[in-house]
């Protein structure tokens, strides 16, 4: 399957080339999302290995990561200049929202952590 693999390589290459054009601040957010999801995956793996007890701790750990990743995605949508509907929204305001939502999310997470 040399052809197929070269196609895939081509596809990835074109994707990474296209991605390289993404602004740095969006890349940082992407990296943050990847980081959050990876942390969540580690916890899921741990749960798969030893069981879900204590379940609330597992849930809060995973949901903390997923939640913050979702919030980061939202931030990314608002910060992206290509999204015209958020053109009037300054990125600082979006970041303030992100911070506020994270603080509220983690208050709940901490309460749920047990």
């Amino acid at each position: 399957m040399p052809r197929g693999s070269s196609d895939a390589r081509l596809l990835i290459q074109s994707l990474s080339n296209a991605y390289a054009a993404t602004p740095t601040n969006l890349k940082i957010i992407d990296l943050y999302v990847v980081f959050a999801v990876a942390t969540a995956l580690v916890q899921v793996a741990y749960m798969g290995l030893v069981g879900s007890f204590p379940f609330n701790s597992f849930l809060s750990g995973v949901l903390s990561c997923i939640g913050t990743a979702v919030l980061a995605v939202c931030l990314r949508i608002q910060v992206n200049k290509d999204n015209k509907e958020f053109k009037d929204l300054p990125p600082e305001r979006a970041f303030a929202d992100f911070i506020l939502c994270n603080l509220v999310l983690h208050l709940v997470i901490m309460n749920f952590l047990g």
Partner: protein, 687 residues
Amino acid sequence: MAGRRPGPAVILLLLLAAALAPVSSAVRPVSDAHRSAAAELFVPSADGSFGDLESTYEAVRTFQILGLEKYKSLTGKACEFAAEKLASPSSSAAKDLFHAVRIRGALGCSVDTGVYDGVVARLKAVIKDTNSLLEFYYSVGGLLSIKEQGHKVVLSDAESTFHAIKALSQSDGRWRYDTNSAESSTFAAGIALEALAGIVSLADAEVDPSMIGVVKNDIVKLFDTIKSYDDGTFYFDEKHVDATEYKGPIMTSASVVRGVTSFAAVVSGKMNIPGEKILGLSKFFLGIGLPGSAKDCFNQIESLVFIPLILSLPSKVFSLTSKDQLKVEVTTVFGSPAPPLKVNLVQVLGSDSKVINSENKELQFDLDNNVHHLDIAPLKIDVGKYSLVFEISLQEPEHETVYATGGRNTENVFITGLIKVDKAEIGISDNDAGTMESVQKLDLLKDTKVALSANHLQKLRLSFQLTTPLGQTFKPHQVFLKLKHESKVEHLFVVPGSSRQFKIVLDFLGLVEKFYYLSGRYDLELAVGDAAMENSFLRALGHLELDLPEAPEKAPRPPAQAVDPFSKFGPKAEISHIFRAPEKRPPKELSLAFTGLTLLPFIGFLIGLVRLGVNLKNFPSLPGPAAFASLFHAGIGAVLLLYVLFWLKLDLFTTLKYLGFLGIFLVFVGHRALSYLSSASTKQKTA
């Protein structure tokens, strides 16, 4: 024993008691328990004395009356103790001299004539000067004791002393303690009588008989104030129990008994005192039982010297089967054997006070065992409860002046015997005509196993006869037939008895409802029991197969069987608490490893940031905005730190309180920092 010093007084009183004694109930004689109680109550202190002279005298006298050897060992010390007091008569009170003299008299200590002369002089001086009853009592008593010990003591002015004491008497027979005292006392009356008796015996000439007559009259009045219990017990007590000199009924009664007996001893002529009161007083002293204090013990024992003989039965149950003998013991109240006497059974009364036998039978005396006995067989008495009436008569006439027989004695006895059971039959009959289909003879001397069967139209018949050893029909207290169903439902029937036989007919037609329509096997048991029946029995007769109709709708249900009380009130089964088993935890190393693993993405994130060339160039460089930006980041850090504390130890309310302050601060500095950044970027664009 009863007459250690049986003066004429005792004789007189006892004669009175014997003459008028009602049928006396048995009173427990003074026993060894009393002796040991006395030995415990009178405990000498380390120096051998019993405290004061009075206690010593009481101890010595009690031991002497009870015949305890102990008092002899006390002789030396008690004599010395008394001698010390007597050595200096002028410095001692009349009371001490009185007790000291009495101790010497009781113990028979060697007497020094010179010492007694001093004492006599001192006591006579007291009598001359005093107007107090107690002083009179002590000094006269002391003189009397000295006289009894063999000294010649004569009271020259006996008449005037007698008058002085008599002047203290009250119209109701009581006495006052002295001329100034307003209170009259029964206790004082006893003391006064004893003192008067002493004066009469100490007097050099005959005391005026009219005065004696007046005092006798006082005694009769005094006995009018006697108090009584319902059981014929009499006792003396003060009229006003709150009086300052209150002594209690034992001391008061003892004082009167002593006074009256000693007075009766020295005067001639009969005292007009009802005998029942004298017996009642004796009962009172015996009824105390074991005394609680040394003083009570002394008073009880000294007053009991005047108690009649007691008749008692060692056993009150007699068996006709073993031909028991009727045994009667006669003792004095002190438990010692009575003098030779005859005991007659005068009457036998049935349980309903009907005279069964009034033949006079004399009981044989068994010298070895000291009991009087009589065969009960010739009495022709059947099983049951009887009252036996005994009469005691002394054989030697001179004893009649020492002992009192207490008149007639009634004792309740119980006669038991073997009851003959015969003509027992059981059977099932078909109809009222009573034609027995299957009549079986029963031997009720042992368990039998008859097997019967019946339906609800038939009847069960059971009959038997009970006869006493004398051939009469016996009616026991309990005659029951018990039917017990397999399901443990029981039915009890009283077997009615006629003059001839016991017979029960169970008509099952009328009993189906009572039997709860329970067909099946019933066990039959017959119980015959009576206290007088030596062979009371509970026999299993066999069983009955009963065929009853089906229960209708509304038939009563059999009652629930009584729950075994042990299972109802006994210990409950132990409650074992089940706790949730702790969840299985992973090994510690694995958890730590994954904790480290969660850090890996963060490290990757940092590396990614570095590779993206992230920098802090956009951080405000001006001091004002830089401060706000720093505060903004510090604020976020503070909130996160607060969250960690919330997780570790704070509760939600505390957390929210701090979060409120931090939030306001954060909004303020965040707004300043971000609006600066916003304006900076806008400027950049426009520029």
